[in-house]
């Protein structure tokens, strides 16, 4: 596997000088050694069933951690713990080095400002238009309407849904709802983003669009994220492609190829609330564990 420096050099040929400067400055930043998210021996039970059992892992700054696993293995519970929507029975959850395990709802407000959450079905507010959904956080903060308008437009442009600004959630397709959910989650430019099965039930091109958005956040915005999924094509996209800005100023997606190996995407596989694999997608595919092979092959 290539070192961070050599990878940065590989990317260097394809990004603007300004972006490269920023990349090196951020690598030197001592704060980057503090994990964006850390789980320490986290256990949580529902109705006497251990949904997470002694779970420990880290998500570093700028890294995407893909959590794979079958239904009911504790994937969604994991990301709800990061947001403090659930509390663990034991263990610690740290966000940016801050132990949030016993934080109250009031204390969690400041932590949640750093985190964007994309829900499985979008979780858009039915009674609000697309504009009001995306603007929700800003309206709550009392931001002036002109600023709200420009931020909402910027976010909807990011997810390529500017034309849907006045629509109601009931008028949107499943994929559009997810993308509006992404735009809403990204308001305020959070440095940590949680994706809870964002492509479940979507057609392949729409699923690909959502993975591209996740790659743009990872590679161009330096966002740390947890991407929960059970779909293997998501893994293929996120672990083998990266986003760059070409000379024309457009975002394009390139394959990692022979010379470049992405190290900012790692995989965790969960089963019955425990991690049964942690590493890169290549080592996942090489694993001889029967459950992993069955999961990868689908039979």
């Amino acid at each position: 596997m290539m070192t961070q420096t050599s990878i940065d050099e590989g990317i260097d040929n394809q990004v603007s000088a300004q972006a490269a400067d920023s990349t090196f400055r951020e690598v030197d930043d001592a704060q980057r050694v503090v994990p964006a998210i850390e789980f320490r021996n986290v256990t949580i039970e529902f109705d006497d069933r251990k949904v997470l059992n002694n779970l420990s892992f880290k998500v570093m700054k700028g890294e995407t951690k893909i959590i794979l696993g079958g239904s009911g293995c504790g994937k969604s519970t994991t990301i709800k713990l990061v947001l403090g929507l659930l509390k663990p029975d034991s263990g610690q959850v740290l966000v940016d080095g801050e132990d949030i395990t016993n934080y109250s709802e009031v204390q969690m407000t400041s932590v949640r400002k750093k985190i964007g959450m994309i829900f499985q079905e979008g979780a858009l507010f039915d009674s609000l238009s697309v504009y009001d959904n995306v603007a929700f956080k800003l309206h709550e903060q009392g931001v002036p309407e002109e600023e709200v308008e420009s931020e909402v437009t910027r976010m909807l442009r990011f997810v390529n849904l500017e034309q849907a600004i006045d629509k109601m959630p009931s008028e949107l397709s499943g994929g559009m709802r997810r993308r509006v959910g992404i735009a809403r989650a990204l308001v305020g430019d959070p440095k940590i983003v949680m994706f809870d099965e964002p492509t479940a039930g979507l057609d392949p091109p729409t699923a690909r669009t959502i993975c591209e958005l996740a790659m743009k956040l990872r590679d161009l915005e330096d966002v740390s994220s947890i991407f929960v999924t059970h779909e293997m094509n998501n893994l293929d996209y996120l672990c083998s492609e990266y986003a760059v800005v070409n000379e024309a100023g457009e975002v394009v997606f390139e394959k990692e190829g022979e010379k470049l190996c992405l190290i900012n995407s790692k995989v965790i596989m969960m089963r019955d609330g425990q991690i049964i694999f942690s590493g890169t997608d290549e080592s996942l595919r090489r694993s001889e564990e029967a459950y992993i092979q069955k999961f990868l092959r689908g039979h």
Binding site: K80, L83, L85, E105, T109, R112, K113, I115, M117, F119, Q120, E121, A123, L124, F125, D126, F136, K137, E140, G142, G181, R184, A185
Partner: protein
Amino acid sequence: MNIFTRLLLELQEMALLIARAATGLFRKPRYIPETFAQMDTIGVGSMTIIMLTGFFTGGVLTLQTYQTLASYGAVDQLGYLVSVSLIRELGPTLTALMVTGRVVSAISAELGSMVVSEQIDAMRALGTDPVRKLVTPRIVALIITLPLLTIIADAVGIAGGWTVSTFLYGLPSAMFTGSVRSGIQTDDIIGGVVKPLVFALLMGTIACHKGLKTDGGTVGVGRSTTSAVVTASIIVIFADFVLARALQLVLNTAP
């Protein structure tokens, strides 16, 4: 968990919900536009059914009591009987029950749907407290509008009684209105306004609590809505009895 423990737990959760909703009144943001929107939905939206209920209750009360009063030679007290029955008892209780059917079910179903579609989690993830944003405006709107709806139901009910006594039984209009004016005491009006205030707090808390505790998908929404309406209806009738006795003691009107 036995039924007694479960009941205690529910009471504890509702008390905490009221406390959290109350703190929402004293902290920013205060969600005043949401409160007005809820007042419109609950108050203005319930006007028609409340007026119809009040009118026909007053009318039927006159129908049923006229013969009895006539046999005692006390027809001149008809207006007093109808108005006191409405103001003290039937107005607050029937209004609360009608609003329970229309509003408690709607609040519970709306919040329940928001829970199962993860909208409540999304709201929390976006840094907004759902209790302050959703619960406080609904309870405050109920507390403001239910007494007003009750007063309207009382007034329309008395008009219904007057209509029946005047046009069906041919009693002089002044006899009915005169007995209403001379019969109603301040204590009756105080009791008639205090009751809906307490009912509104109980109904709002039950509706929001049941809605926010919804689980089990769309089936769960139906279950929590039914549970909210049944619980609120029973609690309103139970609270009516307790309040009636308490008001007798407080206002020194006990026989």
